[in-house]
């Protein structure tokens, strides 16, 4: 890998910027994502920052099964993220549609709409699992 690429990769691993999107979830996983930022779990010690805009984000953390209303918005947010970008499906609903799979207003898991890099199952996915999943994703970037 060229030197520039390695530096950018190092920066990305050291301080990934995250954007969070709820694509029709019950809020359970969203609350656990927010809880990961609070003092007990403190995701920020890994250098992870929660940003508001997709244009600066490396990682999209997505919760919930994709409802018809949110599908276009999800695709747009994904398209606005600069390469290389990674998508983390947080919670069973984001992984596969979960208990809502087959419901008429639900498309399915996140990967029915955009490509997913990491799946964190759980109903809800606990902050421990979220941290584990994100750290594993960062670890896999290191190998590249």
């Amino acid at each position: 890998m060229a030197v520039i690429e390695r530096i950018v990769n190092w920066a990305r691993i050291k301080s990934p910027w995250i954007i969070h999107f709820n694509s029709g979830a019950c809020n359970g996983c969203d609350i656990e994502i927010l809880a990961s930022l609070t003092p007990t779990f403190d995701l920020e010690r890994f250098g992870i920052l929660l940003k508001g805009t997709p244009r600066h984000a490396d990682v999209l953390m997505c919760s919930g099964p994709v409802t018809r209303q949110t599908k276009d918005r999800l695709i747009r947010i994904y398209e606005q993220m600069p390469e290389p970008k990674f998508v983390v499906a947080v919670g069973t609903c984001a992984c596969s549609g979960g208990v809502f799979d087959g419901c008429y207003n639900v498309c399915g898991g996140i990967d029915t709409v955009i490509p997913v890099s990491a799946y964190i199952p759980g109903c809800t996915a606990s902050p421990h699992a979220i941290i584990d999943g994100v750290v594993k994703l960062l670890g896999s970037l290191k190998k590249k």
Partner: protein
């Protein structure tokens, strides 16, 4: 003046954005608001008609990740009515304890979110750290932090051991101390009071007319609480106060929630002290006799209503649910009128909405310039915090 809608915003400029809030401004004052809901519409009521009564408990818990026990309990109560069974007292007490613990975690969550909306992030970090005490209790007693799965038709699935009860009491003591601190902050921190007072006011009469429920209604003096008025679980054997306030504004809604925390501690202590011995479940046949029933529950956000119609099979004919936030929507739209745009985040947050506000787009039309723009929630919150900083209110 012509209104020109120019979609500018976080998403692609040329594509139409499905805004949730459409706000029309005159100067800085909100003249009109309309709200497009349905982002979280998953088709749950239809799905209930294809699952057995037991399977629906699992589904309905996931209507909302914050008040999952409320929905699950409200539903099983309706089914138990149809089945004509008497749920053992011990199970009712366990449901009550879990329900009040849920109220604790929900109100602490709200306190943090409200703090975050006005730029008081310390409050967010403190209250969510305290909230973790309740989350640990849930994991210990029920096996999960969220979506506890404690209910079954005819009772509960797990008992609360003597050891668990001791732990709950220790946690409640600790949280009560912390809540006294929050009450101090809420009643003595001048900046907070200034920021929340006289914002989002809605009169008693308006609340009644719109049919608002929960702490929102009680903060405008409406003395209504399903735990007292239409008792369920063990509430007819427990004494507690219904907290109301006459401020009619966001500050009042804050005081009501913090007051309810204190009452919850008392309810939990009574429930543990008086919990009767006995079985925790009663057998209920798979096929539920034909009939209809309606059940209500005082969720942290307000009155939750479930209607169930049975047809003699093991699958319900119809399940209808009305979550508390839906009852408060018309009220919140009225509450926003004539307030500043900068007040929108906290007014909406003060109804403790059960739809995710983290990524909602807001379309703002300015009457005097005719221009329109789209903001996302985060930008609106930042605008609001800056607006108040310029007026001397900063945390």
């Amino acid at each position: 003046m012509d209104r020109v809608v120019i979609p500018i915003g976080p998403q692609h400029p040329a594509l139409k954005e499905p805004e949730s809030f459409r706000v029309t401004l005159e100067g800085e004052k909100i003249k009109e608001v309309s709200l497009r809901l349905g982002y979280n519409h998953r088709g749950i009521e239809k799905a209930c008609e294809a699952r057995t009564y037991m399977q629906n408990i699992y589904l309905l818990e996931r209507v909302c990740g914050i008040c999952s026990h409320s929905h699950s309990t409200c539903y099983v109560q309706a089914v138990e009515d149809l089945a004509g069974v008497e749920v053992p007292k011990r199970a009712l007490y366990i449901r009550t304890i879990v329900g009040e613990l849920e109220r604790l975690h929900s109100h602490l969550l709200w306190l943090g979110v409200a703090g975050h909306e006005i730029g008081f992030d310390t409050l967010f970090m403190y209250s969510w750290r305290d909230r973790e005490i309740v989350m640990d209790l849930f994991a210990k007693i029920t096996g999960n932090r969220v979506n506890y799965g404690i209910n079954t038709i005819g009772g509960v699935r797990r008992d609360i051991s003597k050891e668990d009860q001791k732990e709950i009491l220790i946690a409640v003591d600790k949280l009560e101390e912390r809540t006294k601190y929050y009450i101090k902050v809420a009643t003595q921190e001048v900046t907070l009071i200034k920021r929340l007072s006289n914002v989002g006011k809605l009169s008693h009469a308006d609340i009644e007319s719109f049919g608002a429920v929960g702490p929102v209604a009680r903060a405008s003096g409406v003395d209504r609480d399903i735990r007292r008025d239409d008792p369920y679980a063990a509430y007819d054997e427990i004494s507690f106060k219904v907290i109301t306030d006459n401020n009619e504004d966001v500050y009042g809604r804050t005081l009501v929630r913090v007051g309810e925390l204190m009452e919850s501690y008392s309810i939990i202590r009574q429930a543990i002290k008086n919990m009767p011995d006995g079985p925790i479940t009663v057998k209920v046949p798979r096929k539920i006799p034909e009939g209809e029933s309606i059940s209500r529950y005082e969720a942290p956000r307000g009155e939750d209503v479930h209607y169930v119609k049975s047809n003699g099979s093991d699958i319900p004919e119809r399940v209808k649910l009305r979550a508390p936030t839906l009852a408060n929507i018309k009220a919140v739209l009225k509450m926003l009128e004539n307030y500043n745009l900068a007040d929108l985040p906290i007014i909406v947050a003060a109804i403790d909405p059960c739809f995710s506000c983290t990524d909602r787009a807001i379309s703002i039309t300015k009457l005097d310039t005719g221009r329109s723009e789209i903001m996302d929630w985060k930008s609106l919150r930042e605008y609001s915090i800056e607006w108040y900083k310029k007026r001397g209110i900063r945390f």
